[in-house]
Every structure is written in C-alpha cells, then in structure tokens.
C-alpha cells in the first residue's frame, strides 16, 4: 500500500472512486465469509433503536415504583421481573441503553479528537512532538487502566461527565499508537510531497491529506474501543461512581441487584448484566468485522 501511495497523484489514495457496487460486493463477500459480522450488525441496529426510542416504547415508567409488585420473577407482565422497589426491570434495561450508549460514544469521540490528533501530529512531525506525545502515552500506560480511571473520577469529581473524560483518557494511548503509525508511513508519500510543493501549510496537509487517509483504520479502532468504553463506564458505575440512583444504567443496576443474588432473586442483576454483555460483544464483533473489511491483512 505504501508502495502504491508513493507514486500516486495527490490525494489519490482515498480510493480512485471505486464504484459503490464494488465496495458493496466486497462487503458482502466479507460478510458471507463471516456471518457473525452480519449478526453483530443486526444487534447494533437493535441497540441503536433502543437508545433512540427506548423511553417511548417501554411498557412502564422506569422510575415508577410499585410497592404491591416488588421482587417479582419474570412474567408476561414484567418480562424481566421487578426489583426491590417494584420497578419494571425490562423498562429500565431498555431505557438505560441510551445513557450507556451516549457515555461510550462521547468518550470515544473525545479520545478520537485528542488521541487521533496527537497521534497524527506525532507520526507526521516526529522529533519533539513525537517524544512528548510518546511520554504522555507511556505515563498513562504505566497505570492499570481501570485504576487510573477510578483515580481520575475521584479527583475531577463524581459525575457522568468525568466518567466520559476518564474513559477517554485511558484509551488515549491506543489511539495515539494507531494514528501515529499510520501517519508515519505517509509523511513522505507522493501525495503529501505534492501537497507540500503546491504550498499547503503543514497543518493543512495534516487535516486535509493525512487525516482522510487514515480514517478507515481509525473507524475500526473506534468500534473496537466502543465495547471497552461501555465496559469501563459500567464498571465505574458498578462501584458507585458517576451515575446516581435511581437513574437506570446497566452497571448500577447490576450493583443494585448484587445483594439479591445471594437470596436467589437473580433477575435483578442478570438482565442488565446480559444487556451490557450483548452490547460489548456486539461492538467487539463489529470491530473485528470492520477490520476485516478495511485491513484484510490483519484478519485472524
């Protein structure tokens, strides 16, 4: 690929406008080889729908308690049963999708902006930029990541926004590494030299030439880290950080049901945990599928 990009005319690496037909055929070929990716895409659509429409389609108010129906096992009326306060768990699980999804999405967007840009700059400029960015990454990597996230939330304050920030910071090194490597191989590619010769500023080359070219690989990275971001945010709220009860959120719902597990009311923790697991599983599979599509060499 570098071989080709060396001699390619400016910006030509962003595909010589392949007919959408061939992209589609390629996607179908990859999907056929790995049907699991298709499944994960369906799951993703369901999750996205729940996040968008959740509050409008659930049968019960997720916050309304009903003292006459506490700790009920799953039934036709309450698909996932009810909790200690008689709240409908199915409604809470569905409504929680939006918050978990938004936390993950926001943190991934934030780290994409920070880590992606720092990584491109490090790979493109090299030298001191590279050294400073590398040092910051190394320092973050010197911590067990979840522990660092705990520390950051504790320091910045116990809010949802800070959970987003903490999750973004611990993912920073991953984005830097990918963006740096991809920008580095292209720093002297033909199209970059051409752009430089025609008088573009370095900053403009970074944003207009390098960034679009590494976008596909960054998209894969985003989808791979989405699962981890959800897991991390849920873990933080499980130990009581960020999201406050009675807000429905998967991690905190599992924590609420934890005490009931030993007395046998499994459904309170089980269904939110299952939803969490499916969401993470879906993003991991989707990421693997996307990677196969974008970067066939790394297919396992």
């Amino acid at each position: 690929m570098t071989e080709a990009s060396m001699i390619a005319p400016p910006s030509a690496e962003v595909k010589p406008k392949p007919s959408s037909d061939s992209i589609f055929r390629h996607a179908r070929y990859v999907a056929a080889e790995n049907p699991v990716t298709g499944l994960s895409f369906v799951l993703f659509m369901i999750i996205a729908l729940c996040a968008l429409l959740g509050p409008y389609i659930v049968p019960f108010d997720p916050l309304a308690s009903d003292t006459s129906a506490t700790l009920q096992a799953p039934s036709l009326r309450h698909f996932f049963g009810t909790d200690l306060l008689g709240r409908d768990i199915f409604s809470r699980v569905v409504v929680a999708t939006r918050l978990d999804f938004v936390i993950a999405l926001a943190s991934v967007a934030l780290v994409f902006a920070m880590g992606g840009f720092a990584g491109i700059a490090a790979g493109y400029f090299g030298g001191w930029t590279d050294r400073i960015v590398g040092r910051i990454s190394d320092t973050i990597m010197a911590f067990p990541l979840f522990v660092l996230a705990m520390g950051i939330v504790a320091a910045l304050g116990n809010t949802v926004t800070n959970i987003v920030i903490a999750t973004a910071i611990i993912n920073f090194p991953l984005y830097v590494r990918v963006a740096r490597a991809e920008a580095n191989v292209r720093r002297n590619a033909g199209f970059v030299q051409a752009a430089r010769l025609s008088g573009n500023s370095e900053f403009r080359i970074l944003l207009a030439q390098i960034l679009p070219n590494i976008m596909p690989i960054m998209m894969v990275q985003i989808s791979l880290t989405m699962g981890y971001a959800i897991l991390n945010a849920a873990g933080l709220s499980f130990i009581g950080l960020g999201v406050k009860p009675p807000t429905p959120e998967w991690g905190i719902m599992v924590a609420e049901g934890a005490t009931n597990i030993i007395s046998g009311e499994w459904w309170i923790a089980f269904f939110p945990g299952l939803a969490l697991m499916i969401a993470v599983f879906c993003f991991n599979l989707l990421g693997d599928g996307l990677r196969d599509l974008v970067d066939p060499q790394r297919r396992t």
Binding site: F143, V147, L148, G151, I261
Partner: protein
C-alpha cells in the same frame, strides 16, 4: 545478563517519575478546597487558613510536590479522613489479600489458557479450536462483576457448593499466623489444613472470576503464536528428523511460542489489577481495591491516591519482572542488549 537487568532498571525511573507526578496532580486539581473539607462545616475563615497552612496548601505547586515526594520517600501516604488511620499501614495490611487473589486468578487462567491455546493450534479446525475461539471472543466481552455474580448465584445459591461471598474466611475459621500474608501459604506452613480448606473454598470463586477475564487474551495469543511457530522451518526440520510429535511441540515449538505470550502478560496484568477492584467488591474481599472504593464514595482522597500509586508501582514492577522472564526464556534478548 546483569548489565541487561541494570539497563532495564534505569528505564523504570522516568516511568516512576511520571507515575508520581500524575498521582500528585490528581489531588491538586481536586475541585473544592481540601482545607475547607478538613475544617468541617463549622469552620471560620481563620481556622480554614490555619489548616491550609498546616497542610502546606499555601505553598507553591513545585514546593508542594517536593514535600509530597519527601513524604512518599518516608513511607508516608497521608491519613485517611474517615478513619484517621495512616493510609500506608492500611494498604500494607490489605495488600496480601489482593495479591493472593490476583496471583491465584492468574495461575488458574494460565493453567487453562495455555494448554487450550496449544491444543487449538495443534488441532486446528477441531472442536478445541472452536472452543478456543468462543472463549477468546466471549471472555473479553464479559463484565467481570457480572460473571462474579453469576458464579455466586450458581455455586452458592443453586448448588450450595461454595460458601457465602463474605471475604477471605467464614466466621468459623480462624486466620492463620501471619507469615507471608497469603492465607493459603501460611496455613500450609503452620500445617493448619482446616484453615487451608476454608481459605481455598473462599478464594476459588473470586479467583476463577478473575481467571475467566484474563483467559481470553492468553488463549488467543498462545494459539496465534503456536500456529506461527508450528509453520516455521525449524519445526519442519525437527519433524523431518523423526522427532516425536510430543518433543517437537513441547520442546521446540512451545518455548519459542511462549515469548509473545509472556509479552501479553503485561496487558493481562493491567486488566487484572483493574478487574481486581470489581471482584473484591462483588465478593466483599478485604483487599486494597475495596478499601479504595469505600474511600472513593466518602470523597476520602488520601486512600485513593495511595491505592492508585500502589497499583501503578506494582504494575511497573510486574512489567519489569515480565521483561526479566523474557531474558530467561530467550537468550537472544540478552545478546541484543
């Protein structure tokens, strides 16, 4: 060999400095004034100023940093706000509980993952291989606190095989004499098998929870690197020379395949130390993770800071050990250095 180790030790220094700076900054960017917090609700501006002075908060940031490093050098992590106890002693007394859990979990994971990965690579496409793939994909998607709760439900409530998740020992057993702080080892040394059994039955479920979590990366890596090694020329030569399959796989391929696996252990430790916190919460395990969580919820920052620092230093030390292990396994690393 010694030179390699010395060189590697030197690279730890900037990392440690980075870690200390970050943990220091974490407290100083705290929103709100710690002095006001310490002084309590009925404080006058005068007493707040006094406390600020006694805490050294009126000094410049570099000055405060030097004091912080000086305190650390003397093993002073500060005092907990809620209990008034020094953080350092609390962490030292709780650390063995966390360490025992983490290491036992890791050994369980390696014990399952490495053979599974080897089998999957040797018998590519068989049911073992498919099992391996399922484990590798499902393992990374499982929230560790969720797996822990499922295991508690299954083995405590449904089957009644394991004791209630209430810490390291049940109410009837007495703790063994404190030698290493690891209950399993201490009870064996003192020959107290009753306690050993009790401690093991408490430990097995949380350790297994941690194990499942780290199973995925180890299995995936073992399989991938075994596959690569098995396809290499020297393995073909060994086979062609008529060596038995066992010798080829265990003596020739396995040792070479272990290198990338050992490297992955660094990442696995990062996960493990984080997951440890969640598992400790689920199983009411009296380790440093649950100590930090309790402190976090009370906005008691000194224990959290001590905890983050301890974990980071531990993690740096573990990575160092992994690198040492690397030189033991692979003589080439020694030569390169």
């Amino acid at each position: 060999m010694l030179l390699t180790i010395a060189k590697r030790l030197v690279t730890v220094i900037p990392t440690l400095i980075g870690v200390i700076i970050v943990t220091f900054l974490l407290t100083r960017v705290l929103p709100g004034d710690p002095a006001v917090y310490f002084a309590g609700p009925a404080a006058t501006p005068q007493s707040v100023a006094e406390i600020r002075k006694s805490l050294g908060l009126d000094r410049s940031l570099p000055d405060q940093f030097i004091r912080y490093v000086n305190d650390l050098a003397h093993g002073n992590f500060g005092n907990s706000l809620s209990t008034g106890q020094p953080v350092a002693s609390e962490i030292t007394s709780r650390l063995p509980a966390s360490a025992e859990l983490t290491f036992f979990g890791l050994f369980l994971a390696i014990g399952i993952a490495v053979p599974l990965g080897i089998l999957a690579a040797v018998k590519q496409g068989s049911w073992v291989d498919h099992l391996c793939r399922i484990v590798a994909t499902a393992g990374v998607s499982l929230p560790v606190f969720f797996t822990g709760l499922l295991l508690v439900y299954l083995f405590y409530f449904e089957l009644g095989w394991s004791p209630a998740p209430i810490g390291r020992l049940d109410a009837f057993a007495t703790a063994p004499k404190d030698i290493t702080g690891f209950y399993l080892i201490d009870s064996l040394i003192t020959g107290n098998f009753e306690t050993f059994r009790a401690a093991l039955s408490q430990l097995i479920l949380p350790a297994f929870t941690l194990g499942i979590f780290s199973l995925a990366p180890i299995t995936r890596m073992t399989r991938a690197s075994m596959l690569a090694v098995l396809a290499s020329d020297f393995v073909r030569t060994a086979r062609a020379s008529g060596l038995s399959g066992r010798t080829v796989i265990l003596t020739y391929a396995f040792r070479n395949a272990m290198l990338p696996v050992v490297t992955t252990l660094g990442m696995v430790f990062s996960f493990l130390l984080g997951a440890n916190v969640l598992v400790e919460k689920v199983f009411a395990w009296p380790g440093i993770g649950s100590y930090a969580v309790e402190a976090l919820l009370q906005s008691d920052f000194a224990p959290v800071q001590g905890f983050v620092l301890t974990m980071a230093v531990l993690y740096v030390a573990l990575n160092l050990m992994i690198d040492m292990l690397y030189t033991v396994i692979d003589p080439r690393v020694r030569l390169e250095a």
